[in-house]
């Protein structure tokens, strides 16, 4: 099986390439990247006028299976991923059962082997049942092949336990992903604390509840020497604290999600539950800080925090609705619309955040277009606009914060492991 992608603008941050080139794929690998490749191929993709880049590696995805197949399954999520140009996802472990032991990881691996359309990597838990009480067998989880550990959705409140976890993680050479939130401070909050929480009469979640825990997690990272990745950074002070720690040399990376640079807390003014997530949409000042952090490199990664919920869980009273939004199908377009189009990042910098850096952080071969690497590639019409519509989302859940928004950038082809896993259907009008 061979594929020749011809005449596209190839973006490859690993090799600092931004040029019109052809790519030849053979046997699931990138065989050659060069001008005017003359070769026979089973399929030829004309990429004239299109962007050709490494497939997106999304480090923060809730697949919901096993346990909540009514929200999403491995099958539906990975179809959505392919449509969004995502070729690898890191599956968060807050499933039912949680990914806290070998047996559960095996269960998940079985489903993935059967149903996944793109690469799915498993993240194990830090503590058993994500309860923050006793550590999972981190060494055994690592041996079972998890790419990271996280109690995502919860933070490990006990400093002592978190320190123990990080020491084990260092020993086992596994990345720890921190959901940095002090529940004692965020409490029953549902939106960002500020004038909007006051006028809407909703309980607020302060920046403090995030950045204080970010600071603690960094402190423990430094003390233990473990590699730590801070998930879904949403506020100014977190960016500042992370920048300072990085300067100091702490082994630290972090991510933000598209909604944190695309939307402010003003999106909440109509009580739209599709704007309800944790951490919450923040002030315009915070959004500016997130953008600046992406630009100056403090923020390494953009990940979707894809969190599907059914309509029954979203189309209800605001404070009773679940936290979270889907994002696999919109993250690339949000990045193009909010970052590349306004020239905050160039194409290479965008793909650094959504492919190259995640690969580096997770220790993957993909995320680059170097010859010999896995053929995970996305072909994009970078300028094409589309409107996000509920009935056109292929994820099982439709709780997108971008519904109704016009975004730039449409995926034409997604190639995963040398196979075309998504082709955009030309709309017939």
């Amino acid at each position: 099986m061979s594929i020749l992608i011809k005449g596209g603008r190839v973006i490859d941050p690993a090799n600092k390439i931004d040029a019109l080139l052809d790519i030849l794929i053979e046997d699931n690998k990138i065989y050659k990247v060069a001008k005017n490749i003359k070769a026979q191929a089973n399929s030829i993709i004309d990429a004239t006028g299109k962007i050709v880049a490494p497939g997106i590696i999304d480090m923060h995805v809730h697949l919901r299976q096993p346990g909540r197949e009514d929200k999403e399954t491995v099958a539906t999520a990975t179809v959505a991923a392919a449509k969004g140009g995502v070729t690898t996802v890191l599956a968060m472990p807050n499933t039912n059962p949680a990914m806290d032991c070998l047996e559960n990881v095996e269960l998940s691996r079985g489903i993935i082997a059967k149903d996944a359309r793109v690469n799915v990597l498993i993240c194990g838990t830090i503590t058993r049942g994500r309860l923050g009480k006793e550590l999972s067998d981190i060494a055994a989880l690592k041996k079972s092949g998890v790419y990271a550990i996280s109690d995502d959705g919860c933070s490990v409140d006990s400093d002592e336990l978190m320190f123990e976890a990080l020491k084990e993680a260092k020993q086992s050479e596994v990345l720890t992903i921190c959901h940095s939130e002090d529940r004692k401070l965020s409490s029953k909050g549902v939106i960002n604390m500020g004038f909007n929480s006051t006028r809407l009469g909703l309980r607020g979640i302060s920046n403090e509840s995030e950045y204080k825990r970010v600071a603690r997690d960094i402190e423990l990272a430094e003390k233990s020497g473990a590699s730590v990745h801070i998930a879904h950074v949403s506020c100014r002070q977190s960016v500042e604290i992370i920048a300072k720690a990085k300067k100091k040399g702490v082994k630290l990376t972090c991510e933000t999600a598209p909604h944190y640079f695309s939307l402010t807390e003003d999106a909440l003014l109509g009580y739209d539950t599709n704007m309800k997530m944790n951490p919450p949409l923040r002030s315009s000042e915070d959004v500016a800080a997130i953008k600046q952090g992406l630009k100056d490199g403090t923020i390494d990664v953009i990940a979707s925090d894809h969190a599907p919920h059914t309509e029954n869980e979203k189309d209800i009273e605001f404070e009773r609705a679940e936290f979270g939004v889907v994002g696999l199908e919109t993250e690339l377009s949000a990045g193009i619309t909010e970052l590349v189009d306004p020239k905050l990042l160039d194409w290479n910098q965008l793909f650094e955040k959504i492919a190259f850096n995640p690969a580096r952080i997770l220790g993957l071969d993909s995320g680059s277009l170097s010859e010999g690497r896995p053929a995970d590639i996305v072909v994009i019409s970078g300028d094409k606009e589309w409107t996000v519509k509920k009935n056109e989302l292929v994820s099982k859940s439709k709780n997108s914060a971008f519904l109704g928004r016009v975004l730039k950038g449409v995926v034409d082809y997604t190639i995963c492991d040398g196979k075309i896993v998504y082709v955009r259907q030309l709309s017939v009008h």
């Binding site: 006051t198 009469g201 189309d315």
Partner: protein, 310 residues
């Protein structure tokens, strides 16, 4: 000007002119309640449904009286005995009421934003009778109506609102309405009961009731909400009556004709002494009477807006 909104969700969403239109309309309806036969046919053939998810007597009864004086048919749904108990969602309940061809839903709900959500989901009118900590627009409208009746105007008045501002929908609606009409609003509460950034509404804040009363033309005394326990602030713990309670002694140091309002029901001896509640400055029962006229106006205007649209 004419009214165009099918719903009344909060005073934040209204213009000064729209608020004035409600007040003027209420003014013309007030007389109906003084007639021998207290009824006009304005809403004859219309159906209004009281959908109350929180216990309320005075607001529900006031709406019922208002609707009946306009000749509307009124149905009361107590959620404890309806299919809400069986897990029906708010939107499903609303759509069922709409399918019964009701014209207006008057809703009280313990979740902020519930009325906004229902209004978005339905074509019929939704009147917010209080949602969580968010808004209680008809209470503020009747407060403002009463003030205007007593003092002839709103612009330039100094109004103090005292109580648990953080958890009060009455406070929020009053702040929006009064500031839009040009009053100077001061909210007074223990610091922990002042919500974040409330001064961005234009209201001033104070934690000293004597200072907040000094130049006040009126004081609106909020009920301390025992039933909405947030685990934080109990009046006793705050020594509330001593620090913030409205007493004759405190009023003696305020303007002589200061108007004392309260949305009811009063906790005598907690936010206000009996002497003040029953005293010459109190307009508490007049507020109740004015509530009918204001709610008649609101029901009438939202029905009209729907008729214009269809």
């Amino acid at each position: 000007m004419s009214w165009t909104k099918k719903d009344l969700l909060g005073l934040e969403y209204l213009t000064k002119e729209e608020i004035e239109l409600i007040l003027d309309t209420a003014d013309s309806f007030k007389e109906v309640s003084t007639r021998e036969i207290k009824k006009v046919p304005a809403l004859r053939g219309k159906t209004a449904v009281n959908l109350f998810y929180e216990p309320s007597t005075r607001t529900r009864v006031s709406f019922e009286v208002a609707a009946k004086r306009l000749s509307a048919d009124v149905i009361n749904i107590a959620t404890e005995t309806s299919s809400v108990r069986k897990g029906e969602t708010l939107i499903d309940t609303g759509k069922n009421i709409q399918a019964l061809k009701a014209d207006i839903i008057i809703m009280r709900h313990n979740c902020s934003g519930a009325a906004n959500m229902l209004a978005r989901a339905l074509d019929i009118s939704v009147v917010n009778a209080g949602d969580g900590w968010h808004e209680h627009p008809t209470q503020a409208l009747l407060d403002i109506f009463t003030l205007k009746e007593k003092l002839g105007k709103i612009k330039g008045l100094n109004i103090t609102i005292v109580g648990d501002i953080a958890h009060s929908r009455v406070a929020r609606s009053n702040i929006w309405g009064l500031t839009k009409l040009g009053a100077n609003v001061t909210v007074c509460a223990p610091e922990m009961l002042l919500p974040v950034a409330i001064e961005k509404t234009g209201a001033k804040t104070s934690s000293n009731i004597d200072e907040a009363l000094k130049d006040a033309d009126a004081v609106n005394v909020l009920r301390m909400q025992f039933e909405r326990d947030e685990g934080a602030a109990f009046p006793e713990q705050l020594d509330y009556f001593k620090r913030f309670g409205i007493t004759g002694e405190r009023l003696a140091k305020a303007k002589k004709d200061i108007i004392v309002m309260h949305p009811g029901p009063i906790n005598r001896g907690i936010e206000m002494s009996s002497e003040v509640a029953d005293g010459a400055n109190s307009v508490i029962l007049e507020q109740v009477t004015n509530g009918i006229a204001v709610r008649m106006a609101v029901l009438f205007l939202v029905s009209q807006a729907r008729e214009v649209k269809t």
